[in-house]
């Protein structure tokens, strides 16, 4: 067990826990975006910033990737943390204001405007879909390409990946698109129930419900009939 202090409260957590897990265990709210249980911590969104160490040598770290250490002093809501967190929210709003997830986080933290050049990206590079595809769906069909400002997300060579089996997991976790697949009627904005009449899961390997987010899916309906 590791003993640490969070917001003045002493607590002990199991070896290998992160600061985020310890804080959540005590009930301190820390906003997260790129964090999801069951997926490897990634530390991309920087929303879960906390302040560690004793004054004047404190520093900001992302709590989702920072392992709990013996004797660590953590503050989750100091003025420095709140200021930095507000900045992160503003930056997220600047890049992807149409995301419901980001809007919710902003309103929960009373951020009503942002001071940067407004853009409308359709991806914030949080890496949730990449980890979902690789770690939970065992596919590894999508990933990051390029570098710096040209970094993008997609399949190798922008062609349909052979590993992809249309499980829909990437769309399910995406905070930026938040739209379920509408097949060929995007204006309806509701799930089209996978109108592809021959999804690969019918023809080749069978995956159980746990490995598919495409419900309702025509393939399953055919199978049941």
């Amino acid at each position: 067990m590791i003993n640490l202090t969070i917001n003045g409260l002493k607590t002990s957590v199991e070896d290998g826990s992160t600061v985020l897990e310890a804080a959540q265990f005590l009930g301190f709210p820390i906003p997260t975006l790129c964090h999801m249980e069951g997926l490897e911590p990634y530390g991309a969104c920087r929303l879960c910033l906390v302040e560690i160490g004793k004054a004047p040598n404190t520093k900001l770290v992302s709590s989702c990737t920072y392992p709990a250490q013996e004797g660590l002093v953590v503050r989750t809501a100091s003025s420095r943390v709140l200021k930095a967190r507000k900045m992160v929210i503003e930056l997220l709003l600047a890049s992807c204001p149409q995301s419901k997830v980001i809007q919710d986080i902003a309103s929960a933290h009373a951020v009503n405007q942002q001071r940067f050049k407004q853009e409308h990206e359709d991806c914030i590079l949080c890496g949730l879909c990449v980890r979902m595809c690789k770690e939970q769906m065992m596919a590894g069909a999508i990933g990051f390409r390029g570098r710096g400002e040209n970094r993008s997300l997609g399949t190798p060579f922008d062609v349909k990946s052979e590993e992809c089996r249309f499980c829909g997991g990437c769309m399910y976790v995406c905070p930026a698109c938040q739209l379920r697949c509408t097949f060929n009627e995007p204006e309806k904005a509701i799930c089209g129930g996978c109108q592809n009449l021959s999804p690969p899961c019918v023809e080749e390997e069978k995956f159980d419900d746990m490995m598919c987010y495409m419900a309702p899916c025509v393939a399953c309906e055919i199978d049941k009939a």
């Binding site: 590894g140 069909a141 990051f144 570098r147 190798p156 990946s161 590993e163």
Partner: protein
């Protein structure tokens, strides 16, 4: 049909799982060997094709997207076919203020292509790089592994012509790309220069060579760009020999492979800075030098 088997095999450019397997086998056991494998594939086939990456993914058991991510992260990997000659012009800060943009546009005009394009006859590919670490010599360009410093716009047309002729074939004594080097052992730092034996009017480079059950001296020209050699025992063509330092007797070997025949390269250090590597296969003229400007 024994004669047929003795003929040197003409290497085709076809990407096959067997040839890629061979490259991967050389880096087996190294968990982080992906970059080395991709370098090997690029050295052999000129670029990383979709098919080649697919085979690498299959053979190493990684997902294609991981390998693709690495391949298009690094500047030195190319996913498009490259021309015969690769021109890299430095546009780093120092070269920029010394006039690199003019050099780039001159190359673009002379070759009739934009940066990151290949000429239609598949002769030249033009690239820009952000720094070659030779800022004092700017503007710098590298063509087929040869560095050219303090470039002026008027130099470009000659460079284009010389590149097409082949820098290695140039035999002119006044050629600025043939120049004398003083080399030594990378392990004990002793000089290899032998003033008791002159080749091309210069002290020769003497090392010890070993192949089969033969073991003797080996001398070569110290003019970079010339391939005149003398050996105590005649080395049969296509033999990969081992080379040793005559002073500390360490084997001259590194982890490099000949870009032309994949045999191990023999490293030597150059007095004044840099290294030279020569191919250990007799008959192969593969060599590369990474030197500070010696002219």
């Amino acid at each position: 049909m024994v004669e047929l088997a003795l003929q040197p095999l003409k290497e085709s450019d076809e990407v096959t799982p067997e040839r890629i397997r061979k490259i991967i086998d050389r880096h087996e056991g190294a968990l982080g060997g992906l970059i080395a494998i991709l370098e090997g594939v690029q050295a052999q086939f000129g670029y990383l094709s979709e098919k080649a990456l697919g085979i690498v993914a299959q053979e190493t058991g990684r997902s294609l997207v991981d390998i693709y991510g690495v391949a298009n992260f690094y500047q030195s990997f190319s996913l498009k076919p490259r021309g015969k000659h690769l021109v890299s012009v430095c546009v780093g800060t120092a070269c920029h203020v010394r006039g690199a943009p003019a050099i780039v546009s001159e190359f673009e005009q002379r070759l009739g292509i934009e940066v990151d394009e290949t000429t239609e006859d598949k002769e030249f590919t033009l690239k820009t790089v952000n720094c070659l670490g030779a800022c004092a010599l700017g503007p710098v360009a590298v063509i087929d592994g040869h560095y050219f410093s303090k470039l002026k716009k008027s130099d470009i047309e000659k460079l284009r012509h010389d590149a097409q002729e082949g820098f290695d074939r140039a035999g002119d004594e006044e050629d600025r790309r043939i120049f004398p080097v003083d080399v030594g052992c990378p392990f004990c730092n002793h000089s290899f220069m032998d003033s008791g034996f002159y080749i091309n009017g210069r002290p020769s480079i003497r090392v010890t060579v070993s192949f089969g059950d033969k073991h003797g001296w080996f001398r070569m020209s110290s003019l970079y760009g010339r391939y005149d050699i003398f050996s105590e025992y005649e080395i049969p063509v296509d033999t990969v020999s081992h080379f040793f330092c005559p002073h500390c007797h360490a084997e001259l070997i590194g982890s490099w492979e000949c870009p032309m025949c994949s045999a191990p390269m023999v490293p030597m250090i150059v007095r004044g800075g840099g290294t030279i590597r020569i191919c250990s296969r007799s008959g192969c003229t593969g060599s590369d030098g990474h030197m500070l400007d010696l002219r």
